[in-house]
């Protein structure tokens, strides 16, 4: 099983302006089982993105260890796909060029990788946009490309860093529903970071609540809501509302 195991993870960095050490993450331990969809939710500035960046290998932890499939994480790698809040698409590559970038780096021959690229573009509903440049697409479409690009590399773990925070509210709901559909179809392992409690509950099988700085694990709650998940009935659902209220109570103590 390709599980993610995190033990005693901490991150302290030097604030160049305050001239003091700041602890962003303090002693976090958690596990994500293969095929799971886990949300991490917490107030702004609780270090949840720091946590994600450490798992992605972009920044080194100060203490503790991160194991994926039993191997220690030493830096960024194609076994962990990342979807960024700012999309981070390559502006000089077409949509297809972006999605096939990962397979190209693995040395997959052109025809094969274009077939893979088109398959994943189809999965996110962008089969017709293959030849366009990212700047010619709307924000919602750009992030679909971002998701397709990360998935096309068949990573063991998909890390999503507030991916829908910079699109408008209606598009965000559509994207959230699509993400749950894709997860049901393909069962990728997803770790999803957000400050939006409703989003966290709507998407995940399990929600991990972080405290404000320094970030610690406050609680882990299972989300026993049935799938497929669709906003229209769910906003009225009593279980959903109760769960959201409970998490909100932890994120914003009165």
């Amino acid at each position: 099983m390709k599980n993610l195991i995190i033990r005693g993870l901490s991150k302290t960095y030097l604030d160049p302006y305050a001239g003091a050490h700041v602890t962003a993450i303090a002693d976090v331990s958690l596990e994500v089982v293969q095929g799971e969809f886990v949300s991490i939710v917490g107030p702004s500035g609780c270090g949840k993105s720091t946590l994600l960046n450490m798992i992605a290998g972009f920044i080194p932890p100060s203490r503790g260890e991160i194991l994926l499939d039993g191997r220690s994480v030493k830096g960024p790698g194609p076994d962990r796909g990342v979807v960024f809040q700012s999309f981070a698409l390559f502006p000089w590559k077409t949509v297809l060029g972006n999605v096939t970038f990962g397979p190209k780096m693995r040395g997959v021959p052109r025809e094969e990788r274009e077939r893979i690229g088109r398959e994943y573009l189809g999965l996110v509903g962008l089969a017709g946009a293959a030849g366009r440049y990212p700047a010619e697409l709307s924000g919602g479409m750009q992030q679909r490309v971002g998701v397709a690009r990360a998935l096309a590399n068949s990573p063991d773990l998909l890390l999503m860093d507030e991916p829908f925070a910079s699109v408008d509210a209606q598009t965000r709901m559509t994207l959230q529903e699509e993400l749950t559909r894709i997860w049901q179809e393909r069962r990728p392992t997803i770790l999803f970071v957000t400050h939006d409690v409703e989003e966290a509950v709507f998407l995940a099988n399990r929600v991990i609540v972080l405290s404000s700085a320094p970030g610690r694990v406050l609680a882990e709650l299972p989300v026993p809501l049935p799938r497929p998940r669709v906003w229209a009935p769910l906003v009225e659902d009593r279980d959903f509302k109760a769960l959201v209220a409970r998490v909100l109570g932890m994120v914003r103590p009165a």
Binding site: Y13, P16, Y17, G47, K48, S49, T50
Partner: protein
Amino acid sequence: MRGFRRRHWRADTAYDRVVGGPGGLRPAVAFLVPLGLLLMVWAVVVALFQVPARVFPSVGEVALAGVQSLSDGSLLHHTGQSLLRVLVGTVLAIAVSVPLGVAMSVSRVASAVLTPLFRFFSVLAGIAWIPIATLWFGYGFGAITFVIFNAVFFIVTYNTLLGVASIPLPLRYAAASLGAGPWRMLTEVLLPGALPNVVTGIRTGMGYAWRGLIAAEMIATNAGLGYMLFLARDFYRTEVILLGMIVIGALWLMIDRLLLAPVERATIERWGMVRRVG
């Protein structure tokens, strides 16, 4: 975390910008150390390969030339002449071009007609005027100052035109609906709004002017740093040439980094106006 990253990145580029500008001792050291290393490489290479002074002088020879030209006053004389010409030409040009640019930009027709014209002449700015300037004014102060004036004048006027044109229309509407008359509109909206472009124009124009100055002094005068270099060439005095080059480089670096860049930074960055790429 986003905030952390961005601040981190900002701090990084801020470091680069401060290096070369004012702001404490450490940046100055970081800037001077590599140049000191270069000086050492120069000293070692010349000594090691016994380069003849006619090809490349040693550090000592250049230093000696510096001391000599300082003590007989010739270096100060030439430098003073060059700086005076740049100062007079630039100040005259700015004094004429900023009001002219703003005045022209007030009329839509005038700015539409004149913008391509000034673009054309700003392309010509500087060195291309030397032949005709020397014919019109003869060799000497007039011709050289004219070349510098030209280099700055057209580019600054063009940039002022662009600057006023780039002020967002809502800003003008806002000022008008708050009761600003034409004069207030000019001093409170148009001038400050165009300022970042004006400053950028001055910086570019002076870059061309400085090069034009050196070229013009080689051709058309009997004083100034360019003349000093060209005269030294006649006698194969490479140490004087090197000295002149170092003075020219150091002077421009100081004008650009200590004078122009901070002003540009103060207007563009403090106001959060992002300069267009290009």
